[in-house]
């Protein structure tokens, strides 16, 4: 282990990188993460339920996506169930409860994601 030596040039470069960290790695503004606490926008979201197997149980995730800006989304883990059928049923009710329009008329338009298919 002791036999390995960085050459002086490489070492200088490393120290430079350490120095530059202070100037390049600036912490983001706290407002950037405001959406986590500011949940008013959740009123205007489409809700998608998602059931994933985890640790031997079925976990219900609800994905809330703003119906005008689908990039603004948040995922929440709601609960876990032993049976998949029960999880699906609970997820369906939870989505109905969480969604603004219970009839499901607000839909996320796929084009809003501006995905490039090429």
């Amino acid at each position: 282990m002791h036999d390995f030596q960085l050459d002086a040039g490489a070492y200088n470069e490393l120290v430079n990188l350490l120095n530059n960290q202070l100037f390049t790695e600036v912490p983001a503004l706290s407002e950037v993460m405001d959406f986590l606490s500011d949940d008013w926008w959740l009123r205007d979201t489409a809700v998608i339920e998602n059931i994933v197997p985890r640790e031997g149980m079925w976990e219900i995730h609800l994905v809330f996506a703003h119906y005008l800006q689908p990039q603004k989304l948040i995922k929440r883990v709601i609960s876990r169930h032993v049976s998949k059928d029960k999880a699906e049923l609970s997820a369906w009710y939870m989505r109905r409860l969480a969604a603004k329009d219970q009839r499901g008329t607000l839909k996320v338009n796929l084009d809003d994601f501006k995905l490039c298919h090429s």
Binding site: H2, Q5, A8, Y11, N12, V15, N16, L18, N19, Q21, L22, F23
Partner: protein, 214 residues
Amino acid sequence: MGDLNTKQKIINASISLFNSNGLANVRLQQIANEIGISPGNLAYHFRNKEAIIEAINDDLYEETAEILSTYRIFPNLLDFDNQLTKYFTFIQKYPFYFLDLLEIERHYPDIQSKRKAHISKMISQIRKRFDFNVQRGMIVEEPRPGVYDSVSNAIWVLITFWIPQNVVRGANLEMGTKTFKETVWNQVYPYLTPQGVAEYDQLIRPLLEQSSDK
């Protein structure tokens, strides 16, 4: 465990004997006497003086690496002050190493070559501190190319030869942390910007005033 303790005892006794008598004036018999073991027992752990010096050097190497790893813990002038304190503790712990530098250079070239890697890292860290603080606006732009290289070298010389120069000039000289750190900081001070002076006054001066010269 018993072995480890005896080994460590031998190393500790050797360091203290080397520090008080000088590297060349210590015999294995003296080291054995110091911790009350037989020379045979000592030879079982270390076959000769060179082996002891090598073991001490490994500790020295680890400690220097530890000091070098404290680069950029604080994003301000405190960082250098913090490292200076560590350097001072280090040179006080192993004065023989600095007093007998030439002796080690001559008789134990392997040890010296290991040390050289750390020397260049140490100088380049000091040099990069200048760049870093120029970027922060604490130190003025280099007045002409090469000035900060020489100042960095001078600071390295100061740290490395602090103990020998004190011994040469007389034992009654003040050798404390305060004088040491002040002397090093005074190399940097002329290059501080007004903002740098303000930071120095706020962070470093109170620390220097607190530190003792014992």
